[in-house]
């Protein structure tokens, strides 16, 4: 019977933290290899706005000292890692004195909500469509309509976002064009606010679902066709089981297993798409935050957002990994 041993759990968690460490190190190194000096850039921006900044060199030096950029690299590295361990992602350089943790804390729930809900929708809808495409008893009409709805699959997510935004927000005005909730509303757990959030989230979520579910439908259809030829399918038919029961208990139940693996693998790619969709809808989540950080060369924020995105992706993969024994009895994570 499937189960997870403590041994496996510990090993798997070690891999998880190793991933985070490697990610943190890369995140630390890459911005330091990039050309440009963020503080000089900031001061330059100030002087551009004010015409002239007195003692600009002194300001640059002061800030460098403040952010610890004059220390040797290894000291900076240790300080960076130590900060991460305490959940301290440092300061945003462009929006000082706001901390990265603060900014991320405000943006992350929106992205997790958006990604989570769209993932559930495209995974369920995609696999259901794929299963129906392969099932012999599906009405002919459905077999014509479902492939037609998959034409969006070949469109990049940002283009789908633009199309939806133009059609449903700009032309028809059914949905708001941007932001995750109405201006002037305070986030609260009441029906009005929740409905407002759903209203704002529909278009971004649709953009993600539309471009994604077709892949899942095609993958599922292929798996279903393979399962159709299995010996146990013939026996299920011979047993005189009810057709709908055979569909979900024999076919979908077995065809879904590789799809779960594919989901774990695709989470990274999914996040890429979400970043672009968020920017198009000016959705105040991680994607918008990351793009702002890049535009402002805000090193602290770039590092922080990237690290948080990697952490959440790794966490999602970890959860799917650990849930394998629950969905496939043949996989046992008990150590030997």
């Amino acid at each position: 019977m499937g189960g997870i041993s403590l041994n496996y759990l510990v090993r798997r968690l070690l891999v998880f933290f190793l991933t985070l460490w490697v990610a943190a190190t890369l995140i630390f190194i890459i911005p330091r290899l990039a050309p440009g000096d963020p503080i000089a850039a900031m001061v330059a921006r100030l002087s551009y706005q004010a015409g002239f900044v007195e003692n600009s060199n002194a300001i640059i030096e002061g800030w460098k000292e403040r952010f610890g950029l004059n220390d040797p690299v290894y000291v900076q590295y240790v300080r960076f890692l130590g900060g991460l361990l305490q959940g301290d992602l440092g300061y945003s350089m462009a929006r000082f004195p706001a901390t990265v943790t603060e900014l991320v804390g405000r943006a992350l729930p929106w992205t997790i909500g958006l990604v989570g809900i769209s993932t559930v929708i495209f995974f369920v809808v995609g696999n259901l469509c794929g299963a129906l495409l392969a099932w012999k008893r599906t009405p002919r009409l459905a077999k014509v309509v479902i492939p037609m709805s998959m034409i969006f699959t070949s469109i990049p997510p940002l283009l789908a976002g633009l199309l939806l935004s133009y059609t449903f927000a700009f032309l028809l005005g059914w949905f708001p064009q941007s932001y995750s909730y109405g201006f002037g509303m305070t986030p609260a757990l009441n029906l009005e606010f929740i409905l407002n959030v759903i209203h704002h989230g529909t278009l971004p979520a649709m953009a993600i679902v539309l471009v994604t579910f077709g892949y899942w439908a095609l993958g599922m259809r292929g798996m279903m066709v393979t399962i159709e030829g299995e010996d146990y399918m013939i026996l299920a038919q011979a047993k005189g089981l009810k057709p709908f029961y055979v569909l979900y208990r024999y076919m979908i139940r077995n065809a879904i297993l590789p799809q779960m693996t594919a989901l774990a693998v695709s989470i990274g790619t999914l996040v890429n798409g979400v970043v672009l969709v968020e920017v198009i809808f000016n959705y105040n989540g991680m994607g918008t935050l990351i793009v702002t950080a890049l535009r402002e060369q805000d090193f602290g924020l770039i590092q922080g957002t990237a690290f948080i995105l990697i952490t959440t992706s790794a966490l999602a993969v970890l959860i799917i990994d650990l849930s394998y024994p629950l969905i496939d009895p043949r996989i046992s994570l008990e150590g030997r």
Partner: protein, 345 residues
């Protein structure tokens, strides 16, 4: 060999008449089963043998209404206990399945759903036909009893198929096959993936369960030696045709049809090495079978008449039929010569 319990006076539980099954291909239909007729009597075990591709499995799947596309049933009649199977509507057919005819499948290794516990796969067949079982304890006892019938330990109740050995999986399939006490059970090469010892044990389990529950059994296989141990009658198929059907002792002692003779002759002996004779002659294109007798291209005794007239099934004695012109009384002289040739070889 035990005494046969089935004289011709026994009730017929399965009556197959002129069953014809084709596989559609772009180059025309392949005739897989060609107008086969036979009866199965109550409590009888019938062995269905022949080379690979002779249509024995297709016959079984035809009887079960499970011919997979591009195969289709062209014509024929299949009566189980007086019910014409081919006329059943979809829902009636679903209800008839497993209660009238059940299957012990060919690939027991892959015939169980890998994501369902053993108990759930037996429970689902019971509940689909008898409705939801409220008394779970009684249901459990019923399954334990099935396990006991086929010699399975109760501990596999909660196991998944991958936790069982091949022999155990095959037993689960047998237990499942008889769970609803069907009229006829068809075992499609139920033992071919197992080693000889387990094969023998599983085959004996099959017969024991059959006798206890009182079902009729069709065993499909190509292991003539194993079949000789367990069946009452043997039906020999060649290229979609039934060439001989006879009590098991007759088939081994005095095979009549030239094909049966060659088939018996090709059973490997562990005592001596002997050449394979059946490779002589050519096989035909299954889309265009030869005129007359299906076997004439490979038959050592064929003559002009075999190409002109298709041999009818000739009743030699009680329960023994053969489709060969040699046994037509007007060709008695040829038969005598042929038998002499065999005796000399």
């Amino acid at each position: 060999m035990s005494e046969k319990r089935n004289g011709s006076g026994s009730r017929t539980v399965l009556k197959v008449e002129k069953l014809r099954i084709h596989y559609a291909t772009p180059q025309g239909d392949v005739i897989a089963v060609s107008d086969i007729s036979f009866n199965l009597y109550e409590g009888e075990t019938l062995g269905l043998v022949g080379e690979s591709g002779c249509g024995k499995s297709t016959t079984a799947y035809g009887i079960l209404q499970l011919v997979q596309p591009p195969g289709y049933i062209v014509n024929g009649s299949i009566e189980v206990d007086g019910t014409e199977v081919l006329n059943l509507g979809e829902e009636d057919l679903r209800k008839f399945r497993w209660t009238g005819l059940s299957l012990i499948p060919q690939g027991a290794m892959n015939s169980l759903n890998p994501t369902m516990r053993v108990k759930d796969q037996i429970i689902d067949v019971i509940e689909s036909h008898e409705g939801r079982q409220r008394d779970r304890e009684a249901l459990r006892e019923r399954i334990f009893e099935l396990f006991q019938n086929v010699g399975l330990p109760n501990r596999i109740y909660n196991m998944y198929p991958h936790e069982l050995s091949g022999g155990m999986k095959q037993r689960v399939c047998i237990a499942m096959g008889v769970a609803l006490h069907p009229t006829v059970v068809i075992a499609d090469e139920a033992t071919s993936a197992l080693d000889v010892v387990v094969q023998r044990i599983v085959a004996q389990t099959l017969i024991k369960v059959k006798d206890e529950i009182g079902v009729s059994l069709i065993v499909i296989g190509h292991d003539m030696g194993l079949l000789a141990q367990i069946v009452d009658r043997i039906a020999v198929m060649y290229a979609g045709k039934m060439v001989e059907i006879a009590p098991v002792n007759n088939v081994y002692a005095k095979p009549l049809h030239p094909y049966t003779q060659l088939l018996i002759d090709s059973i490997p002996s562990i005592k001596e090495r002997k050449p394979l004779k059946i490779t002589e002659g050519i096989t035909h294109d299954p889309r265009n079978p030869p005129s007359g007798c299906i076997f004439r291209l490979r038959c050592p005794f064929a003559w002009q008449h075999c190409a002109e007239v298709e041999p009818p099934q000739i009743m030699i004695e009680d329960l023994h039929e053969v489709a060969c012109h040699l046994y037509d009384e007007q060709f008695a002289e040829r038969r005598a010569n042929a038998l002499a040739t065999i005796a000399n070889s």
